[in-house]
């Protein structure tokens, strides 16, 4: 997996954030790595159990302290870059959109039938929380963003990492909505949405997706499982 990623980013700029088994973490042959111990990461039914990246964001933000990185490209292990200019394209789009956060399937979902929104809306504290922390005129806005990959300015990333979840909120709602209410501009990547979604493994589609303009594709899981098995893990 690291070999693949080295084609798209300077290895010195890749931080591996692991939340699995300690012994697997010890075996990762890469300088920049951190281990996150957060039960909110280890969910089975991610949406119903409100999976959270707050621990991951905090860990990364702490690691970044004192370093001069200006942006964070956040990718789950199965969100696989395809374009040689992966980070340059994200930087260019962020600038073109004058945004602080870009990601796939960014939608406004308050007042809608969006299942994650309705699930949170059943908690009377949900909207009260945004009312308390918002810097915007309309506290009702709730955003959703696909969780597998997103691109952040350092300021937006650090501000969201510093936030405190008042109760459990699913990451696809919490991260974009918190960024929005802290005053950051969150934008969708409509041209990338066809390549990033919930579906069967897309390893066989990678080349087609790349030729169709995909910067990255999700999900690709089997490739890494096969690689790990071949390496005897």
């Amino acid at each position: 997996m690291l070999g693949w990623w080295r084609q798209f980013a300077d290895p010195a700029h890749i931080l591996i954030v692991a939340g699995g088994r300690r012994e697997d973490f010890a075996g990762i042959a890469h300088g920049q790595k951190i281990f996150i111990e957060d039960p909110r990461l280890h969910t089975v039914d991610h949406q119903r159990e409100f999976q959270s990246y707050t621990g991951v964001f905090r860990g990364v933000s702490a690691w970044l302290a004192g370093r001069d990185h200006t942006h964070v490209s956040f990718c789950e292990y199965d969100h696989v870059p395809l374009s040689a200019d992966f980070n340059a394209q994200q930087l260019a789009r962020l600038a073109a959109e004058n945004a602080d956060v870009i990601g796939c399937q960014v939608r406004r979902v308050d007042g809608t039938n969006h299942p994650h929104y309705l699930y949170h809306h059943s908690n009377p504290e949900f909207h009260r929380f945004w009312e308390k922390i918002t810097r915007r005129g309309d506290p009702e806005v709730v955003l959703s963003m696909f969780g597998s990959g997103s691109f952040w300015t350092r300021a937006a990333f650090d501000a969201v990492a510093a936030g405190t979840e008042p109760f459990r909120i699913y990451l696809e709602i919490y991260l974009p909505t918190l960024a929005h209410h802290l005053g950051f501009r969150v934008r969708d990547l409509p041209d990338q949405n066809p390549f990033v979604h919930v579906s069967p493994d897309l390893e066989a589609e990678m080349e087609t997706a790349r030729r169709s303009g995909a910067w990255a594709v999700h999900p690709v899981k089997k490739r890494w499982a096969r690689e790990a098995a071949a390496a005897g893990h």
Binding site: R108, V109, G111, T112, R135, S144, D188
Partner: protein, 87 residues
């Protein structure tokens, strides 16, 4: 067991969508997909619709006391300017 449940669920949704209606955005006319709408105990169950829609009563060019149209629409794509200390 999980796969069987998933198969039955997907098949059920396919049938309900086929029996249902095409949902057209009440404001833009965009096709939002198909859903089965089912009145149940004073509510309307919306089954099988993937788009995040909001219910809206349609404006009426003719005043009628006996009928009103309930439609659906989606929020425009989020395009909020930066604000606060970081703007």
């Amino acid at each position: 067991m999980h796969k069987l449940k998933r198969f039955v669920r997907d098949l059920g949704l396919k049938i309900l969508r086929a029996c249902g209606s095409t949902i057209i955005d009440a404001e833009t006319g965009q096709n939002l997909g198909r859903a089965f709408l089912f009145p149940w105990r004073g509510k309307i169950l919306v089954i099988g619709l993937d788009a995040p829609v909001r219910p809206v009563f349609r404006p009426q060019t003719r005043l009628t006391y006996w009928k009103q149209d309930l439609g659906f629409t989606v929020h425009p794509p989020p395009d909020f300017p930066r604000c606060g200390q970081d703007s």
